[in-house]
Structure formats: C-alpha cells, structure tokens
Symmetry: C2
Amino acid sequence: MSKKSIYEQLKHLFDPENIAVIGASNNKMKWGYIVPANILAGGYNGGLYPVNPHDEVILERKVYRSVKEVPAEIDLAVVTVPAPAVKGVIQECVEKGVKTCIVISGGFSETGEEGTKLEREVTEILRKNEMRLVGPNTMGVYSASCSLHALMPPVRPVAGKIGFAAQSGNLGTQMLSLGKALGVGFSRFVCIGNEADLKCADYIECFAEDPATEVILLYIEGIKDARHFIEVVSRTTPKKPVVVMKAGKTDAGAKAARSHSAALAADEAIFNGVLKQTGMIEADTTEEMLDIAKAFAATPLPKGNRVGVLTWGGGWGVVTADALAKHGLELVELPEDTLKRLDEILPPYWSRGNPVDLVGTLDLSKHFACLEIIANCPVVDAVITLGTMGATSSFQSFVLEGPAAEELSQIKPRVITSEFLQQLMATDEAYRNEVMRLMSETDKPIIAVSFPTSGAITPMLARQSEVVIYPSPERGAKTLAALYEYRRFLDRQKVGV
Amino acid sequence: MSKKSIYEQLKHLFDPENIAVIGASNNKMKWGYIVPANILAGGYNGGLYPVNPHDEVILERKVYRSVKEVPAEIDLAVVTVPAPAVKGVIQECVEKGVKTCIVISGGFSETGEEGTKLEREVTEILRKNEMRLVGPNTMGVYSASCSLHALMPPVRPVAGKIGFAAQSGNLGTQMLSLGKALGVGFSRFVCIGNEADLKCADYIECFAEDPATEVILLYIEGIKDARHFIEVVSRTTPKKPVVVMKAGKTDAGAKAARSHSAALAADEAIFNGVLKQTGMIEADTTEEMLDIAKAFAATPLPKGNRVGVLTWGGGWGVVTADALAKHGLELVELPEDTLKRLDEILPPYWSRGNPVDLVGTLDLSKHFACLEIIANCPVVDAVITLGTMGATSSFQSFVLEGPAAEELSQIKPRVITSEFLQQLMATDEAYRNEVMRLMSETDKPIIAVSFPTSGAITPMLARQSEVVIYPSPERGAKTLAALYEYRRFLDRQKVGV
C-alpha cells in the first residue's frame, strides 16, 4: 500500500501533467478517437500522447508504439484497447511508472466468470506498483481544475464545487449535462466502473480532502466493501455533505443492478441504517440528486426548521404549505412586528400571515422589501420565494421566443412594449443579486421556485451555482428538508450525541 | 333552475359568438385593457364589445356606455369593474339577457364578511335569470374551439384534449404555459374563483359531456358542496379520466387555503375516501398534474401491470426497476421466444433480461426492432423506453445550441460531423412515428423517458399531445401506475364490483 493519501495519489488522475491514450485511433467511431478528441476539445493543456502500434499521427500528434516509448512521465493513461489486450498494456504502464489509469474498455467482471478472472489478473499487476486504476468498464473522468474531459460522451460540464462519483456512466454523464443546462457546477466526476482497484469509498476519501470539492454526490447501486465505505463516509460527513442516490433497493432493482454492474445491492433496511449511521443525505429520485447537491453548493444551511414563504399567488402558497408540513418543516407564524413592517408595503387586504402573499404585486421594490423583512425575521430559519425570482425571465422568454412572440408583434395595439421587456430583463439580475446579498447577510438559505413556463431555460435559470431555483414548490421544500437534515446531523456531531 | 344541461349552458361561455367587456379601459396597466387585448391577440373571431361610461374607442372598437346598449346578443360578459360596481353591472347583464359572465374582479368572499355579503347579493341577482357566473376573483377562461383567451396573463395554450378547472389562477395559468412549452394541449380551462355561482362540480359535469374534452384535470383546494361533487365525479369517471391535485391536505396547507380561496379544505383521510369512491386519479405533486394528464390524453391504457423496459444504459434501467416496484408495477420476465428474437438483434453479451439493455447500441434500426419485439410480447402490457426517444434531439441541441457548440466547431479534427447532426435530426421524428405506430397497432402505452441534457426543450419534446416523454424514470413509472389505476377502476365498473 502506498503511504500517500488517496487524495495525493489521485492528484495524478484529476490534475495530470501528461496523459497517454493507449489504444488511440484515427477511426472516429472508436473510443480511442472520441475520448482523446474530447480531451482536446475540452481545453486540456497538458501533454497528450497517443499510443498504438500501427499509426504515425493521431489528432495531429505523434503516435508511440508503446507507452514505454513516450518521452515524458505519464500521470494518467487512458486505456481503450479491447479487454484481452488490457493486461499487457497495464503491465507496460506499471513498467513505465505511470501513476494512474482509466480503463474505458468493457469485457471484464460485468460479463461473467471469464471477465472476472481477467479483471483479477489486471488488478494483480497493479499491486506490483503504486499505480491506481479507474474502472474497467468506465465512461471516464472529468476534472474542472485542469479542464480534463476524459469522457466517452462529449459532455462539457460547468466547473463548480460538486465532486460526483457514479456507478453508472450514462446516468452520471447525463447528470453532468443536466448540470450544464442549469449552471450547476462540478469539481470532479468519476464513473466508478467495475471497481477492480479504486472503490467508491476511495473517491469519497479523495473528495473529502480535495479543497476544490465542497459537496459530494454519489450514485450507488451496490457497495463492495461496506465496512470500509461506512468508515470513510462517517469520517467525511462532519466535514462535507454527502448526497447519495441508492438504486437497486427493491428486489427488481437489485436484480437489474446485478446484471448491470455485477455489484451486490444492499437491502433497503440495511442501507437506511447506513444512512442514519453515517449522516449521508439521501436523494430519493434521480431529479433530487441535482436538486439537493446544488443547494448544498450554493446556500447556507438553515439553523432550524422554521420557514418563511413569499408568494406571488395564493395557490402556490397552499401547495408549499403542504410540502413543508410533509417534510417536517414549519410554516412559522410571523411575529406582529414583522407583520407590521409588511403592512407598510402590501395592500391593506393582504392576508397578514405566512405565506406572505404579494397578491400579484408587480412592483419589484416591494418584492425585495418583503423578501428582506422575511429573511431578517428572527423566527425565520429559511426562506422560500415562489414565482418571483426567475419568473420574469421565464415570462420574458415566453414573450420573446415563444410561438406567441410573432402573434404579439403583429397585433395592434401591442400588449407588450419594449420598455416592459427591458424591465423584465433587468429584473432577474436584480433578483439574483438581492438573493445573494440577503443569503450572505443573514446566513439563511433562500430557495426560489419558478415555474418552467417556457421551453428555454433562461440565462438566469442557467446559473444555479450561485442561487438555486426549483421547478415546483414540492422540490424546493424537499431540498430545504435535506439541508435541515444535514444541519441536525452536524449539530448532533458537535454535542457528541 | 335551467332545464338546459350545464354543458349547453356553458356553450355560451366556451363558444361565445359575442363578448362584452364591462369595465374596458385604455389604461394598459388595467385588466380592462389586458384581458380584451389578450382575447384579440389570441385570435378570437367573434364580436367584442367594450363597455364603459367614459371612453369612445378602446382597442380600435366603439365603446358602449352600458351592456344594454350593445347592438348584439351577448353570450359572455367579461367583468373587470371594481367589486362595489359589480352588482349594478350584473343587474344590467341580466336585463340584457346575457347568457354567461366572468367576473375577474376581486374583493368578494375572499376578503372577509363584507365581501361575502356582496358576493351573495350578486348571486341573488343571477337567480332571476338563467345567466351563469364564473368567479368572482377569477383569472378567466380559455377555450380552444374558438381560440378564446379571456385570461389575465398572456398565456397562449396549445389546443388539445384536456379540460382543466383550477381553484388557483396563478397555478392554473402557469400549468397552461408549461403545457405550451411541452406541447401538451387543452380543450378548456377555467379558473374557478370564488364559486359564487358555478362550482367545480359544474365544470366537471360540463367537461364530461363536452366532446372536445377527453381528460379532465382539477386543481382543488376545497370543495363547497361535497355530496354534489362526489355524485358528479362518480358519473364522470366511467366515461373520462379525472386527474386531481388536492392542495390543503395538511393543517398548514388548509390554513393557507382558507386565507387564499376561503374554501373549506377537506381532511386528507376524507379526501382519500372520496378518491377511492369516485375513481379519480390523484396527482401527488404539481408536476404530476401534467405528467399524468398528458399521458391520459396521448396513450392507450395498459391492460395489466406487466412492464417491458428498453434502456440505452444500465443505470437508468436499475432506477426504473426500483420505480416500477415502488408503484406496484411488474418488471415482467420475458418469455424465451422473446429473448431469442432479441438475441438476433443485440450483441452476444446482452443480459437477456428485462430491462432490455441496448448496451449503448447506436444503430436506430436495432432500437426500433427491440421496441417492436417488446411491445408485441404477449406478457407485456406497457413499455417504458429510456434514453432513446428524445435523447438524440437533446443531444443535438446540446451540440448545436449549447455553449459547447462553438468550441466544437473550432477544434480540429471535428468530433461531430454534419452528417451526424442530420442523422440526429431525422432520428427523433422517426422515433416518434415508430412509437405512434406501435401504440396504435398494439393498443399498449409506450412511455418515453429522456433526460433533459439541454437547456432547450427540443421540437420533439415540445409535441407531447401525441407521444409522452418524462425527464426521469421515476416520473414515467408513476404516470404508468396512474394509467393502470384508472384501468383497474374501469374494469371494476364493468364487472359491477
């Protein structure tokens, strides 16, 4: 075993100075072409050395017959040769002194007995050296710090604070894509693959120490060394939140997981015990993975469960009240002096309660004033604002880009004036700044809910590394409950319970 | 009481030949301007008569001092005058013989005792005639058949088969907007308002008889005459599915509902009893409202709970297996002859099970062949297809429109060729046609799940009146469970249980 920490070992993986691609190809339908092309297109600035015994030039770079001939120290080898050839390649990597490798190739333990034997043989070779291996049967790795896109699909994630390890390449890379559309950023991503060498727990241990990672996100189907996993997670959660989606919890799901990743799925009851013991935060659905992770990355934690709600319309307030109650959050009664301050802003017939109903008020300064009063109210631990932030840009894009835009521009007199549009464009930016200022000043989370009334995700919605917006009150409330759950875990840790 | 059916009475509301706008205005910030402007912009072709005592011309139309002076029979009066003036206006409408009216104005029972008294007085006037009243305190009405947009917000819904009654204007009209973005169509929409005259049950009764409406969608906070409501719904559900979102089920939610709509919220247990008794299908969240309604409008009902799953990647298959199990659906074991037919298409190492994993196969003809085999398998009642239909257009838009597009076009050699892009564009249309053909031939629902990897909803995704696509397997599975629940209800009705 190496004496270096996992984090130090995986620096070679996430911040390589030189990469060799073994099995590089000029055939554009082959991963040996697509993966290095993704690396170059993604803006990686280190050395990239194609290796294959036949070609002279690939991707405008000199090709080497063996990794051992490459005239540089190699931090990372990306291996795309067919499974039977992997053993020899890894042997050469070890002899060359390569630090880490990603074995993209499938055909190992996921295919049956013979593949399992092959995988074991490959892992045996590693032990002779300090080389660490990602996969095999992996879609690869992303790292923001050096803009490394060693990935099969051409995903270009947003750089951010979330470290993400996934036991499914499709699911993982599609989360990165969704994150891109929403502006949710990642520091690192690794498709775990078959875990021949590096296990899920190793990536968690690395992310825990990694200064670039503030939130850890996991998609797990099964855990290979449960005791070690629990130990590592338990050490991590007091420092950084770990959000986990566990698939294969039902019999049907576990069966599907076995055929997919050959991982042993944990029983639901056992896994619930693990959650409780370790303080991991569970995402119940794939949508909740990003919902929750992005909030951990962007907002403060609530100090309690008392929520103030600002709403533009009554119905959404009712739905939010239900959602909060469902998740153990309190729609707190606002004290009289807070109501009095709101009286000065809202029309006389406002309901004088929580949710604070803006009763359709269009005046943005009134929105801001109400938001500030609620956020500063001492009995409020967190704020949900409904149909306000982001709503105007949705509306704008509906008007500007929707099929109605043409009709609207033809009718006389025009319903929508250009001043109105300009006003809308400025509104979202102002809202965003106001929410960021209030979160910073009050140290309370402000969760926005905006209804996706347009096909396009607007620029506002697509920058959720700084503020978070949910497409429904139910998802906003569930997320807030997750933040609060982690907060309570931290509080228990502090008092040593 | 009128001897005409509610449907016949509300023909004047949903298909008016002449509309009067009472309280019409030239002030663009007033509803008296915005609502008739929306009506005109929406393409309504009937007569529109502004009424107000001061102006000569509004929206390029002659203004009348009173509705009684309008030289035409009025089917629908849209009333935007302040609450205290409504009584006089309604009196004049009754004298004129107006058939229906929408009272946009607020300031009635939702504001307290005095407003309640005023509302009762207005309703008393109606009784002298056959005039029916929507609201007061309503955002208005949409009707596809005559392109009527008598609405406060400038929403331009897609025409379709869903009749929608909502006890919240904001929530209701934002659902219409979301429907527009997704291509989910509505036949009628009504914001129920205070239910001074027409109640939720009346709209259901109307939609039940309305040939343009095939699916009924409700957003309810409280029910005013529960016995009548139950009776009407019970008569309706054997003919048309009724999808309902019930807000105000928790104490906090009920309290918020009281302050919002003055409606008496039903206890959760009672409402669950109503659901069971009436065969309504519940949407648990606001997102599920459209999720479920659009499926009822686009796909056949499953005859049983046995599901075949086609997936492009393993991880999503595992998540789907879990979601199906959670909702009582069976990931059915495929018979040997079906597996053999799939053997002919898939690579030798495929998992020979359900989910049928395409193992990343790019060849579209293989997707179609697998989909056809699964859909035609006699033990399969419904199909979920993951990451296939819609995925290519998401990918395309990621490449064409995403921030990566520019980078990709600059790198050499190009990863993405233009032939590849053209291929992608054709793919979604082919997929759509194939799914429609298979649903028609097999009479089984095919539910697609495609992951929103791009900010833009693609043209493919934006036409969900014909095929349905969900952003997660969990939402697809939940929807399928709702379709099956309704199917079982119908089956019980048939055998008289």
